[in-house]
Symmetry: C2
Subunit: 151 residues, 2 copies
Amino acid sequence: MTISFGSGRSRLVQMKQRIDECREQPDDDENCPVRGIMDRIGSKWSVMLIMVLAERPHRYGEIRRAVPDISQRMLTQTLRELQQDGLISRHVHPTTPPTVEYRLTQLGLTLLDPLSGLLNWAETHSEAIVAARLAYGAADGRVDPGLQSAV
Amino acid sequence: MTISFGSGRSRLVQMKQRIDECREQPDDDENCPVRGIMDRIGSKWSVMLIMVLAERPHRYGEIRRAVPDISQRMLTQTLRELQQDGLISRHVHPTTPPTVEYRLTQLGLTLLDPLSGLLNWAETHSEAIVAARLAYGAADGRVDPGLQSAV
DNA sequence: CCGAATCCTTACCGATACTG
DNA sequence: CAGTATCGGTAAGGATTCGG
């Protein structure tokens, strides 16, 4: 995007201030939605389902086939959560047998850009991260979390 | 801005293809790092610690004071994970008492931009999401997940 | 075809106490 | 100051079974 490179830092600092303010009011939930949203993003299957629906609207069984290693329990539950957040919508066609179609909402579409930005970062730097994980705990098998200064 | 609006969608679809390929090989771990990275991002404290260190390098106790509601167990554990991924570095100054400073690495700095993009999205649309959560389960208290067609 | 409901096994994570 | 070690409650999530 057109925003300069160093902008991420200052925006993050401002963000932290706002989240800190949330902690002041012990209302527990509802007052700091950013935290809840990030938890949702980080949940095991949300991003995967969003990616599937980003391609095109899908029926329930289609999603199930597109993501074979999800249990129907978690598929339904995650769909409900995303629906509850207004990111996807559920459309029932009164046919026999019933046909249910899920698709991204307008709100869900706006998420695609920042989300793909993060995923692109993950893919771009995945090799560096795997390398870092291997380098950690180096030496002769000794696990010595002592001093190290790799910038 | 040079990037068109719908770019997020196509990039996400491509991303899904690559993650699907990862599932083909049952090596379980190491072969699909994107999944692991996203889990890390979504973990409870990682983003918060990154935000703190985005401001400036911090000592252990400083982070602890900056994030009061984290246990020292999770603080140390999350710091180790981020260090292992090469996102932060740990510097021990051999003083008495010991002084340990954490800071973002070059790799960690590159994460700030896409991460702040996502956080900005979360903050921007937080009201819409809260509204959607309230709207879900509307009517007279009846929870009827039947048919609905809000976009 | 599209779910809901139940059971049950893990892992996360907080609290607490102890070390160098 | 900057951690490590251990215990235990809780909740996420998989397998399975039943319903409309």
